[in-house]
């Protein structure tokens, strides 16, 4: 179990990087696993649907890749880095609530092959992301 930072009600895991737009990125070799953070899923509340990108699609950093519909809002998840979508979490099509239940694990969205490793350095550290939440909540 990875160590975590708690900001109020929200959990930030220490084993990965983050974006300002509330995605998380976990690097495994030359692959980045991407999902939305606990903070993001709690803000969206009950998620009722996701639209996933096609496997094989080349995406640029910052591009909208996943559409998320919740009882509260429609939101996009953005590519935290550039690369090719090599896998999508198809389980979410039938059970989108998995994102609410396990945002950092079973609720992952896509896997991207890392094209520009230098982009990883631009991501937020867990501490920086925790700070971002704190600012938004105060």
């Amino acid at each position: 179990m990875a160590s975590e930072i708690r900001v109020g009600n929200y959990i930030v895991l220490s084993d990965r990087k983050y974006t300002k737009t509330d995605e998380w990125v976990k690097v495994e070799g030359d692959i980045a696993i991407v999902g939305i953070t606990d903070y993001a899923q709690k803000k969206l509340r009950d998620i009722v649907g996701v639209e996933l990108p096609e496997v094989g699609r080349e995406v640029k950093k910052g591009e909208a890749i996943v559409a998320i519909e919740s009882v509260k809002a429609a939101a996009d998840a953005y590519a935290p880095i550039s690369g090719e979508i090599i896998e999508v979490n198809e389980k979410l099509l039938d059970e989108p609530e998995t994102i609410n239940k396990d945002p950092y694990g079973e609720g992952w969205l896509v896997k991207i092959s890392i094209k520009k490793p230098e982009e990883l350095k631009e991501l937020l550290t867990p501490e920086q992301y925790a700070e971002k939440i704190q600012k938004e909540e105060s």
Binding site: V48, G49, A67, K72, A74
Partner: protein
């Protein structure tokens, strides 16, 4: 708009409520899961803070005459009865608001309006009273009294645990009692009424802020015993959509008549000859609807939540628009209300709703989309 907040906001925060904005008010949107809260109302019991809705007292020898002049339905009634919902209509029969009048007796009425319209209704009533030379005094009690709703099949058990006596538990639909003691909470409410804002059986509680806080805290303690929950306004929206109730600013507004909205209650059993908006309402009945309010039911695969303004198509032709939508946890699919051209307001017709550039199939259906599990005694 000056920011308004429900009086017990901090207590809700303490109890785990998530706060947000609705109709210009800072209030509780949910207690963690809109879906779970929704289900608790259909299966057990839910407790809502509706303090953002208005509470306006109309007093004086002409109180009845004024209200009678401003609503299209007959409000002659015994003391202790709610005569509604009904509506304030403009001279074109468009909705100023839909309201619930309570007959308090002795020339006194309570009017409960929508949150967005409190000031407007006050102004509307006062200007007409002045125009007609009526002797009334209108007092805004919204900030002095809190208002709760208890909804769901276990509402009576819940009220019993709060320690109210059997005269309250036995209230029939649209009846109310004043000065109601909640023994278990050591509190007294100004009014307890029985109606169903979600389609379910239930009660509304109006109480001074201090007394209301005691009731809220006790409610939070008792609810888990019945499998019930504290609920926010998010669940209220999906619940009202399942039964097809309107919300001001979505299904009804100044441009919409009760005929287009198929909101028959407001002029039940038929419009009076004399009231502000009555001639136009009669004319609207003669002319027929300009557009028709219907329900929409999506397929289980359409995992989207339709929102206000989404367009509705049939074979590529635009035939209407969505006024509000939600995910129905009971039907496990998305639902919506929409206005459709009379030529296409056909039950069973498959339409397409456009959401973020894609079209999703839905079927036009009649209300209610979900049959409530309970109902108040008639």
């Amino acid at each position: 708009m000056t920011e308004k907040r429900i009086p017990l906001l901090d207590v809700h925060r303490e109890l785990g409520g998530n706060v947000g904005e609705f109709a210009g008010w800072t209030t509780v949107i949910d207690y963690g899961s809109i879906v779970e809260e929704h289900i608790s109302v259909r299966k057990t019991v839910g407790f809502f803070d509706l303090s953002h809705m208005g509470r306006l007292l109309v007093q004086g020898p002409d109180a009845y005459r004024l209200l009678d002049k401003l609503v299209p339905r007959n409000i002659e009634s015994p003391e202790g009865l709610m005569v509604g919902p009904t509506a304030f209509l403009n001279e074109n029969a468009g909705f100023i608001d839909d309201v619930m009048p309570y007959n308090l007796g002795s020339d006194e009425w309570l009017v409960v309006p929508n949150a967005v319209n409190i000031e407007r209704d006050l102004e509307w009533m006062r200007s007409w009273a002045e125009k007609l030379g009526y002797n009334v005094n209108i007092i805004d009690k919204t900030s002095e009294w809190a208002m709760f709703a208890v909804q769901g099949p276990r509402s009576v058990e819940f009220m019993k645990l709060l320690g109210v006596d059997s005269s309250v538990l036995n209230l029939r639909i649209l009846h109310f009692k004043r000065n109601v003691r909640f023994e278990a909470a050591q509190a007294t409410a100004v009014i307890v009424s029985r109606s169903g804002w979600t389609g379910e059986d239930g009660f509304e509680i109006i109480a001074g802020i201090g007394e209301a806080e005691k009731i809220l805290r006790k409610a939070a303690e008792i609810l888990p015993m019945l499998g019930g929950r504290l609920c926010g306004l998010g669940a209220r929206d999906s619940l009202r959509l399942e039964v097809g109730f309107v919300l001001y600013g979505h299904e009804i507004d100044e441009e919409t008549t009760p005929v287009d909205a198929r909101y028959w209650w407001v002029f039940k059993p038929g419009p009076k000859k004399e009231c502000v908006g009555c001639p136009a309402l009669i004319e609207a009945l003669r002319r027929g609807a300009k557009r028709v309010r219907v329900g929409l039911k999506f397929g289980k695969k359409a995992r989207i939540v339709p929102r206000q303004g989404d367009k509705v198509y049939v074979e590529g032709v635009e035939v209407g628009y969505v006024t509000s939508g939600a995910f129905s946890p009971i039907l496990n699919r998305s639902i919506a209300q929409a206005y459709i051209k009379p030529s296409h307001a056909l039950l069973g017709l498959t339409v397409e709703v456009e959401r973020r550039g894609r079209r999703y199939e839905a079927k036009i259906v009649e209300f209610p989309l979900v049959q409530p599990t309970s109902s108040p005694p008639k």
